[in-house]
C-alpha cells in the first residue's frame, strides 16, 4: 500500500512526457480527413456525381478566384469589405473601451453605464437590421453600424470583466508603493486587463466578420457579400464559394494576427506557463 502511495508522482511525470512525443509524431493524421474530403469533393464533381450548379469542383472555385483576383475585382471588393470591417471595428472597440473603462473603474459609471448595456446585450444585434434600415438607411452606415454593434458587446464585457477581475491586493500593494490613481491604472489595471482585452478583441473580430456577412447581403454594390449575391443571380456557384473562402480566410488571418500580437505582448505569461 505504501508503495502504491509513493508511485503516482513518477507515473504522472512519465505521462506528461509521452503525449508531447505522440502529438508530434501523429500530427499529420489530423490532416487526413480534410485532404480526403477535398479529394472526394473534387472527384465526385469531375465525375458528375455532384451537379455543377450545386457544388462545382474545388479546382473550378480556385480558378474562379484566380480570375477574379487577376482582373482586380476581387481586390476591389475585398478592400470595400475590409474598410467596412475596419471602420466598424474601430468605432465599436473605441466605444467599448470608453464605456467599459467608465463602468469598470468608477462606481458611478458602473451604476449608470452597466445596466443599460446589460439590457441591450439581450437583443440579438442582427435582428436589429429592419430597425437600423429605418434609422440609418441601407447605405454604408448600415453595414458599419452593424459591425460596430457586433464588436461592441464582446469588447465591452471582456474589458469590464477584466478590470473587475484584477486582484485588489495588487492594487493595494501598488498604493503602498506610493502609486497614485493614474499610475495604478497604468502599472496595474491596464496590464492586468490586457489578457481579457485580447480575448475581447478576438471575439469582437469574429463578430465583425459575422455582422459584415449579414450587412453585405442588404442592398450592396460592392464588397465580398455583393460579389456573392451577384454571382448567385447568375448561378455562378463557383464565385459564391470564392466569397465564402475569402470570408473564412479573413477570419482565420485576423485571428492569427491577433494571437501573434497577443503572444508578443504578454511575454510575462510564458514564464507563468513554464512553471
Amino acid at each position: 500500500m505504501t508503495e502504491l502511495a509513493t508511485r503516482p508522482p513518477a507515473a504522472t511525470a512519465r505521462r506528461t512526457a509521452r503525449p508531447a512525443v505522440r502529438a508530434n509524431r501523429w500530427r499529420w493524421r489530423r490532416l487526413t480527413t480534410p485532404v480526403v474530403l477535398v479529394a472526394l469533393w473534387e472527384t465526385s464533381s469531375r465525375m458528375g456525381v455532384l451537379p455543377e450548379e450545386k457544388l462545382p469542383a474545388i479546382s473550378d472555385v480556385l480558378l474562379a478566384g484566380w480570375r477574379l483576383a487577376e482582373d482586380g475585382r476581387l481586390v476591389e471588393h475585398l478592400l470595400d469589405s475590409l474598410t467596412r470591417a475596419g471602420v466598424g471595428l474601430a468605432i465599436g472597440v473605441g466605444l467599448a473601451l470608453v464605456l467599459g473603462s467608465i463602468a469598470g473603474l468608477l462606481r458611478v459609471g458602473d451604476d449608470l453605464v452597466d445596466p443599460p448595456v446589460q439590457m441591450a446585450r439581450m437583443l440579438p444585434h442582427l435582428a436589429l437590421v429592419p430597425l437600423l434600415i429605418i434609422w440609418v438607411g441601407i447605405g454604408e452606415s448600415l453595414k458599419i453600424t452593424l459591425v460596430a454593434l457586433g464588436v461592441f458587446f464582446p469588447m465591452y464585457f471582456n474589458l469590464y470583466a477584466g478590470i473587475r477581475d484584477i486582484d485588489e491586493r495588487l492594487v493595494e500593494a501598488a498604493r503602498t508603493c506610493g502609486l497614485g490613481a493614474l499610475a495604478r491604472i497604468r502599472h496595474v489595471v491596464l496590464p492586468g486587463t490586457l489578457p481579457s482585452l485580447f480575448l475581447g478583441l478576438r471575439l469582437a473580430t469574429g463578430a465583425a466578420w459575422l455582422s459584415l456577412v449579414v450587412g453585405e447581403t442588404v442592398a450592396t454594390h460592392s464588397g465580398i457579400g455583393f460579389l456573392m449575391m451577384e454571382a448567385r443571380e447568375f448561378s455562378q456557384t463557383n464565385v459564391v464559394l470564392v466569397g465564402l473562402f475569402v470570408y473564412a480566410l479573413l477570419g482565420l488571418l485576423s485571428d492569427l494576427i491577433l494571437r501573434v500580437v497577443e503572444r508578443k505582448t504578454l511575454t510575462w505569461r510564458r514564464g507563468l506557463q513554464a512553471t
Binding site: 491586493r169 496590464p191 510575462w268 513554464a274
Partner: protein, 238 residues
Amino acid sequence: MATRSTGDVVTATGVRRGFGDTVVLDGVDLTIGSGEVVALLGGSGSGKTTLLRILAGLDRDATGDWQVHGSLAVVFQEHRLLPWKRVADNVALGVTGPDVRDRTAAALAEVGLAGRERAWPAELSGGQSQRVAVARALLREPDLLLLDEPFGALDALTRLRMQALFGRLRAEHGFAALLVTHDVEEALLLADRALVLADGRVVDDIAVPLAHPRAPDDPGFGALRRHLLDRLGVPAAA
C-alpha cells in the same frame, strides 16, 4: 515624554474599527519609537491585520487618531508582485531617479537575489518572491516597515532563513517595524517589544530584553514565551 514623541514613528490613540456590528478594534493605543521593532500578536480575527492596514493607509473607515511620521513600506503575507513586471521593475515600482537601477541591484543583493533583475515573478519560488517583496520595501528606505505575517506562508526552513535575513537587515538599516504575527517564537526572536491584541484592545505590552542574535534556547526566552502564550489563551502543556 517630549523627547520620546519626537522620535516616535507611529503615534496612535483610540483607534476604532468595526465591520458591521462586529467591533474589531475598540480603542487601540500604540506608539512605536524610531528604530524599534514591535511585534503585534493575537489570535486570528483579533484585528492585527486591520490595525496594520489602518497604519498603511489602506483602511478609510477607521476612526481615532493615528500618525506615521516618516516614510513607510509594507510587506504583505503574500508577495503581491505584479506578474507582468520583471523583478527589477517590481522592486523599483513607483520610484524614479537616476540611481534607481543601482539601488535596485543593491536591494536585490541584500536579500540574496543578486542578478535576478530580469526574472519574471512566476519563475521564482515562494521564498524568493517574498525576498523580492522585502527588497521592494527596502529600496524605499522606510522609517517604518509594516509586515503582515510576512513569513507565514513559507515553509519552516525558508521561514527560519527569512527571520535571520530580517534580523540582519534591521541591524543594518535601523528601520522601525511593526511585525504582525501569530507566531510567539518569531515575535521573541525579532522584536524589541511584544504587544498582545485581544477583544479589540492591547491587553499586554512587554519588552523583550534579550541580546541579539537570539535563539529559542536562550535563558529567559522560555519564560517570555510561556507568558505570551498564556496571554493568548494557550494553556501551558501539563
